[in-house]
Symmetry: C2
Subunit: 440 residues, 2 copies
């Protein structure tokens, strides 16, 4: 990359002209003067690439060179930085990204899947070429939380990083809360309104949140990205009845992505989980509703910090992409994961069985004598202490009945053991839903 | 400053060893390895200065050189960066800070008063000497909101920056909310608990929040710092009855520091205000209680971002100071106000009379016939439309009575005119309290 520090324009190429790509072009136009003043130089789009050259995207791309091939785009001599907005962990996005870095170009990307899977490789390429790699937009849209962890909390040993990282799930859960509707219905509505994709699997299964969590955990804990180790449970099993039950107990349900490190030195272990949790209404994450994202970082000196804002959308995502470009213009560039890749620790995954937590467990059961006795006996045999238990009366004879309980604080393994004891019982009509209660 | 970019230690001198100074020393010790890994080099305290050399601060300072004179400290040849934690807008803090920059040292400070009054001069000195000036800890303690605005939202034209910037006031207001106690009593309790200083004037009068707001406004709006133009109203006049009244209407009361720009080009005007406001319970600032701070920044692409955390305290403040030092180690240094001082606009203060807002107005009146007629006639004559009005029955004959009202949305100048009409009326037993309702 030439002249990063000079006052000549920073020349960028944009790969991918979906809503975010168009948003970046619109943003660079609308806020042109202000960006130049803050960046100390102009940011100039020189070339673009996308699947379809002729599509009307609401922005004029006629002034930019067009490349059919993204790798050719990435390697253009007149380009300082590739802005990769194609998406997908592999394929053309990865190929173009690698090519850009190898050709000595900087890389700015919004691609969480690619960073979760290949972020370390890309960071090493960037180190070798001594060029910037930045991915603020990959996590939590417009919220500067990559920066928040990389720089804002850099003086701290973090004890805990967690938050709401998927806007689709948060929209669905808070809508279910609001309307009393069930999951499937609310998902369909969210799809109609554009809050959920046609194929929402990655969102509702928690994979998208897991991508983002793996990135935040690496930065926050100085660990090698380990997406494969994220325990991921989505929100598909959450029913209107669970939300009503949680509400009656003083909780809301949120899909929480959470990472922490236990032990230190050679015994350090990283725990990364995405799962629906019960959150007390007093917790700062409880009022976070709709497609909003929020991240809590707890540092040993900073205490609890909260970053909140729009987790997706073309405007917020473009805001994060262009903030990265401005950082590059300002030569405020450093190790993307907060320290050089070689210094990141390869932390084995923690085994959470001994972790103490309160848990909400909901069973769907056949309404017949002895079912409650069977469940409570399993709890007793597994040393799970029940704080409260509600059996919901059935509407019609023969229908399934919900049994919900909240446990006292106890080791997670006990709950798992209880569920193992009940595994295969023909009293249960489906898999039990287990949701921990997020400590306040 | 020599060798900022090398792997030799960054050598710092600390001026001021109060709780924050001791906190910085403790933090640099506790998180030493982690900081070195993230910063790419060690941060080494070489010298300190404070009023009393012998005081026990709970940290060992015997390994550091001692200077009685802070300016001598600032100019030591073996120092790269002065960390100024003395406080006060002028005096030794300013003298030492100027000396450090003139001597080619970097400056990191937590001193909001100094930055609010002399930040531009200091930034110019830093530009001339080509050394870093950083002051994350000057605003909102451990929350990286200077960074959030300087870098996180850098791609955006901000439409609005506002928040809760004074922990003492927020503690008092949320305690009053919780306990029903009145201001004086709650202040005394806060002083006992260490949430308010022995002389709380700067906090409860809103001056501290105004310092911080002037800094954020400069960064957020690319404007020259203009502390003198901040309209500042404290919380001294807020009574338990106001909080109860607000609560009944669905609001909490928070001291809100708020800045925005109206108009553009030569017509751009900056409005900066600190004043107690009614905040609907659904607003993200409503649940912010105790000594917590929170800042909202609304960008034209990012949408609304919220930064929240501990606004004061030795740990959080030290966290921000050391984050600045790590940025310096990483050579991630740029214009402290987001653009060079010469490019900051000198924005004249906006005159808010035409601004539309809903307002809570509370009168204390003599309980006698005709008082309500007098007040409502003044409202009518000033074109203020009343949405609701409550007269609180007196406890005993002859005691003052509260009359509280909420207006429909209307120009601020009308409310001011109504109060002018009532000025000097012997029906009123004190100055009316006017609190705007923060839009959601």
């Amino acid at each position: 990359m030439s002249d990063t520090n000079s006052s000549s324009p920073l020349r960028i190429a944009i790969a991918g002209l979906g809503t975010v790509g168009a948003g970046v072009i619109r943003l660079l136009g609308t806020n042109r003067d202000l960006i130049a003043a803050r960046a100390g130089r102009e940011i100039e789009v020189v070339a673009v690439s996308a699947r379809d050259r002729t599509l009307d995207r609401g922005v004029d791309i006629s002034g930019y060179a067009w490349e059919d091939d993204m790798t050719a785009l990435a390697e253009r001599e007149d380009v300082d930085v590739l802005v990769e907005l194609v998406g997908g962990s592999d394929g053309p996005a990865l190929a173009a990204s690698r090519s850009a870095l190898k050709a000595g170009k900087g890389l700015v990307t919004a691609n969480k899947a690619m960073i979760a899977h290949h972020g370390l490789d890309l960071a090493e390429l960037a180190e070798t070429a001594n060029v910037p790699l930045k991915f603020e937009a990959a996590v939590a849209g417009g919220i500067p939380v990559v920066k928040g962890l990389r720089e804002g909390t850099s003086a701290n040993a973090l004890t805990n990083v967690y938050g709401i990282l998927n806007g689709t799930c948060n929209y669905i859960l808070s809508e279910m809360e609001e309307t009393g509707a069930d999951f499937a219905e609310t998902l369909a509505e969210a799809q109609k309104l554009g809050y959920a994709e046609a194929d929402p699997t990655f969102d509702i299964e928690g994979v998208d949140a897991a991508h983002k969590l793996a990135i935040l955990a690496a930065i926050g804990f100085g660990a090698r990205v380990d997406f494969a180790a994220v325990h991921t449970t989505g929100i598909v099993q959450v029913r209107a009845a669970d939300i009503a039950q949680a509400d009656a107990l003083g909780f809301v349900i949120r899909l929480i992505a959470q990472a922490d490190v236990e032990g230190d030195g050679d015994n350090a272990r990283l725990l990364q989980r995405v799962r629906p949790c019960l959150v007390t209404k007093e917790h700062p994450l409880a009022p976070v509703d709709g497609p909003t994202n929020a991240v809590v970082a707890e540092g040993n000196f900073s205490g609890r910090l909260l970053f909140q804002g729009a987790g997706a959308g073309d405007g917020p995502t473009a805001s994060a992409v262009v903030a990265d470009l401005i950082d590059i213009c300002r030569s405020e560039i450093g190790a993307p994961f907060s320290m050089p890749v070689g210094q990141l620790a390869a932390l084995p995954p923690a085994e959470p069985g001994h972790r103490m937590e309160r848990t909400y467990i909901r069973f769907t059961v056949n309404d017949r004598p002895g079912v409650l006795a069977e469940i409570t006996a399993a709890m007793r045999d597994a040393d799970v202490s029940i704080e409260s238990l509600i059996q919901q009366g059935r509407a019609n004879y023969g229908e399934e009945v919900l049994v919900a309980m909240v446990t006292h604080e106890g080791p997670e393994r006990c709950v798992r053991k209880a569920l193992d004891l009940l595994e295969g019982s023909d009293s249960l009509t489906g898999d039990p839903l287990v949701m921990p209660i997020l400590p306040n």
